[in-house]
């Protein structure tokens, strides 16, 4: 089974579930229509859902995914607090600037997740990605250092370690 076929099967199941969720699981007509819809969608747009070969130890990865979710919530709360302090501070001690960090992640999806997590965290915003050099350009509201290694440690590493376990 090639990646494309596997990807189509996954999309088929997912779209059927979503269609059923939008309508109802009990109606036979809807079930049949859902199968048609899922077939259509998986033939049309299912070919690029997955991009890498089969992975091992699926339960371990789901577990790490849950851990990642809570870690992410924690980081968002912390960053929210820091930005709130900056906002209410009458002096407004901010130092906005664009920095570059390096990442060790290899896959498209993990880099995307890292970039989006950084964007969702208040105070930082991913601007661009250079996938060849594994670099992320980030706008930071309070640039404390200009060193790439230091920035990578502060912003990237807290997500990167767990993401490594989840996706790679």
């Amino acid at each position: 089974m090639t990646i494309k076929t596997r990807s189509r099967v996954v999309v088929f199941i997912l779209s059927w579930l979503v269609y059923m969720g939008l309508t109802s699981f009990t109606d036979l007509q809807e079930v049949l229509a859902g199968l048609v819809v899922a077939l259509l969608v998986s033939m049309l747009a299912g070919h690029f859902y997955l991009s890498s070969p089969k992975r091992q130890r699926i339960f371990r990865r789901i577990g790490f995914g849950i851990i990642y979710f809570f870690r992410f919530l924690l980081e968002v709360t912390k960053a929210n607090w820091q930005v709130a302090l900056l906002v209410v501070n009458p002096v407004l001690p901010i130092k906005p600037g664009i920095i570059k960090i390096k990442t060790k992640l290899k896959k498209d999806s993990s880099i995307t997740m890292l970039a989006n997590s950084i964007t969702l965290t208040p105070g930082t915003l991913t601007i661009d990605v250079n996938p060849k050099e594994k670099e992320l350009y980030i706008h930071w509201i309070n640039t404390t250092s200009k060193d790439i290694e230091e920035d990578t440690r502060i912003i990237g590493e807290k997500f990167e370690k767990i993401l490594m376990e989840v996706v790679e």
Binding site: D27, V37, F48, D108, T112, D128
Partner: protein
């Protein structure tokens, strides 16, 4: 910075993972046009936006590999002809253009309301393809070409 066609890897990955959802939702809106708000046009627009999402994220060359543009043109015309065809069958069966000649079914079920769901599907195909083709044709213009004066 423009090393490759399309947008950055972030947009590409998100599009890759989420575009099927857009299509499912668009088709759901079309299929339930006679039961809930929406219908052929709304669902067709959503489907066209799904196509455009891939188009913007991945660029022109990818679309050429992915879709058969000539086939889409044919699909657009075919759905319009089928629409008129259903209308003419209406004349033949009951005497009015677009008259409802199928059984109406039970209310609030999927297969009900006679020809209306069929027409909705045809309109959805037509709108979804046509809107995408409009933007596609506009993107084929080269802005620096064909100067006069």
């Amino acid at each position: 910075m423009k090393s490759q066609e399309g947008m950055t890897i972030i947009v590409k990955t998100v599009t890759r993972i989420s575009v099927w959802l857009i299509f499912v939702y668009g088709i759901y809106i079309i299929f339930h046009g006679h039961l809930t708000p929406g219908g052929g046009f709304g669902g067709g627009v959503i489907i066209a936006l799904g196509f455009l999402n891939v188009f913007l994220a991945y660029g022109k060359e990818y679309i050429k590999k992915w879709l058969n543009i000539g086939l889409l043109h044919d699909l657009e015309a075919t759905s319009a002809i089928l629409f008129v065809g259903i209308g003419i069958i209406g004349i033949a069966m009951t005497g009015g253009f677009l008259a409802n000649f199928l059984s109406k079914g039970t209310l609030f079920r999927l297969f009900s309301a006679g020809t209306i769901p069929l027409l909705n599907i045809l309109i959805g195909a037509k709108v979804g393809v046509a809107l995408f083709l409009v933007v596609w044709s506009l993107s084929l213009f080269h802005i620096d070409e064909g100067g006069e004066q």
